[in-house]
Amino acid sequence: MSCKLCSSPTVSFLSDSGRTSIRQSFRYQVPFVISPLCTSSRLSWSGKVPKPPKRRSLGILAMAQGNGEREKWLMWLPRGPVAERVFRLIAGAMSSPVGQYVSSPVTFLHVVDSRVKLAWLLALVVLPSRSHIVMRFGLVAFLAVMSVWVLPKDVWTDQLGRVTLLSGILFLMLGFGSDSAPPLVQLRTPPPSLMGLPELPLSGYSYSILKLGPLQLTRKGLSVASTSACLSFTIFQSASLCLTTTTPEQLAYALQWFMIPLKFVGVPVAEIILTLLLSLRFISIVFDEVRNAAMAIVSRRIKWEQLTVMETLDIFIMYVRRIFANIFKHAEQITQAMIVRGFRGDSNIHKIYFFSNTSFGIADMISLLGLLGLIGASIVSEQILV
């Protein structure tokens, strides 16, 4: 592009290849382009000197087929008020991580031994996939009732809401989408007549359960959907219940108790447990850092609408860099604190004390009996119910 007055080359940084180009552009609208090398007398003749640009900004122009049109993806980049909203959202978020220990009110689950709770967790992960559909939904209902009974209202409404939404989406997607999978990946069992088996009496049997326009819910879809949704629900909700009623030390103690046999095959159990405890402590520090750094940016009152995409991205990169720098500094300081407090790097020598109640009480017995009953019911349901 050349100057309109003297035909000198103008300042323009425009890449000549690719779909995306970066160019340095003036913010205000100039009716025509004037070269900085321009010596034309017409400028002084008119008596009007063009106002010098106040600032230059680096912007991204995504071009489709080189015609200068902006790509749609640019609309999705957090710019202007969107970027501010993102930082405000982070700054206003809770400092505590999800699923932290709730010390009061003390409930039945608070009293139960952490080892029994871990056994329950394992059972709740395995059972939904290996039991009848009635049992699966029964487990979901049981966990929901337990959550409502044990947790404070604010906590259970939040937890159950999110987990139910996730499981519901899973159920719908898998229920209506299972039979749309290509036949190649489906089971290709030949019909009984080909295998020389007698035909089963199928009075009232229908493979398709529900039709909803082009979508259909089949028996297979129901089975897959109920297994996945119930499994997701039980995993997330049982873990939340366990975390909110058990201190990190009690959990670490239970894990250590179960891992003791692994010591004999050379697994560094003490080191794993110390790492777990430090990680649990560090999670809250990371949350705090993320929130504080966002708050620091929000408090600067940046005029986001005046920034280009590159400048906004620059702030996001600075934000991430600051978080990492602060977290590494925290890690260094905590290392120093551990040294000062007598830790010399050997987890086997530096003992970690657990104050959890290790005596087996009535609550633990009842809980264990309940677990055995649940496992029994699950096995029986698989045998009896069709």
Binding site: P248, L277, A337
Partner: protein, 263 residues
């Protein structure tokens, strides 16, 4: 007397530099003694072999008697925290000798740097892991330490749910649980409001003296905290300018403030 040479992060490891920790059975007059302490860092240039040496501490000497609380004051960057880290054994002095009663504990300025475990009782008991104690002894020590700082009802509380002052008190309890004889405190009240500040000051005063003759050296910027001290040390530009009576040090600081305002 136990002698220990610490190989720290000092840039000038010198045969003259050593930190000597006095055992509990040694009958010494001072809990902390520092003689002609110097500390410097070396910055290597990327190009060339020339090294630049930055002195941080210059010939510092200090004496803190047993059973007393002394305050260490001075402007930012004068070397207070470095001196404290040398006394804690985290840094090795370039030259000079340090004698500190043992066991000693260091409490950081930011409690988030000090508290390493997720709940209060676990953190307070963390420092006891190096001692060969029974679970009952540990429990008794933890409860006693938390009672001293007024946090006995927070045993199972997650650390992230505590306020800054409460975290600071947990950090102090962790130091007290080790039955230390010397407390090294780095700007404890920086992040605290007046109420929490008073709580921390009282917690420290409560644990001083006693049968163990606990002593403390407290780095601070707050002149109003001087009234709780038995003695004070004033530093400037890496040197100890004055130490001894609190009123003399307070007078010196007031005079410096007046000179600054007049200039």
């Amino acid at each position: 007397m136990i002698k220990a040479n610490f190989v720290g992060s000092c840039c000038h490891p010198s045969p003259r530099s050593r930190v000597i920790c006095a055992g509990g059975d040694c009958n010494i007059k001072y809990a902390i003694q520092g003689q002609n302490l110097s500390y410097s860092v070396t910055v290597k240039k990327l190009i060339g072999v020339q090294k630049m040496v930055f002195p941080i501490l210059k010939d510092c000497s200090l004496h803190v008697p047993v059973g007393q609380l002394w305050m260490l004051l001075g402007p930012n960057g004068c070397g207070k925290s470095t001196l404290l880290k040398i006394l804690a054994g985290l840094l090795n002095p370039t030259s000079g000798n340090v004698i500190v009663r043992k066991p000693r504990s260091f409490v950081f300025q930011n409690p988030d740097h000090q508290v390493v475990m997720p709940t209060v009782e676990a953190d307070v008991s963390f420092g006891l892991g190096k001692l060969n104690l029974t679970a009952d002894e540990v429990r008794a020590r933890v409860e006693k330490a938390l009672k001293t700082v007024g946090m006995s009802e927070y045993l199972q509380r997650p650390v992230q749910t505590l306020s800054g002052g409460q975290k600071q008190r947990v950090a102090i309890a962790g130091a007290l649980a080790e039955s230390c004889k010397v407390l090294l405190l780095d700007e404890l009240t920086t992040f605290l409001d007046e109420t929490d500040q008073m709580g921390v000051v009282e917690a420290i005063r409560n644990c001083l003296g006693g049968p163990d003759q606990v002593s403390a050296l407290w780095v601070t910027h707050r002149l109003e905290e001087l009234k709780y001290a038995d003695g004070a040390i004033y530093m400037e530009d890496g040197r100890v300018i004055m130490d001894g009576d609190v009123s003399n040090v307070a007078h010196l600081i007031s005079r410096k403030q007046a000179d600054y305002l007049a200039s």
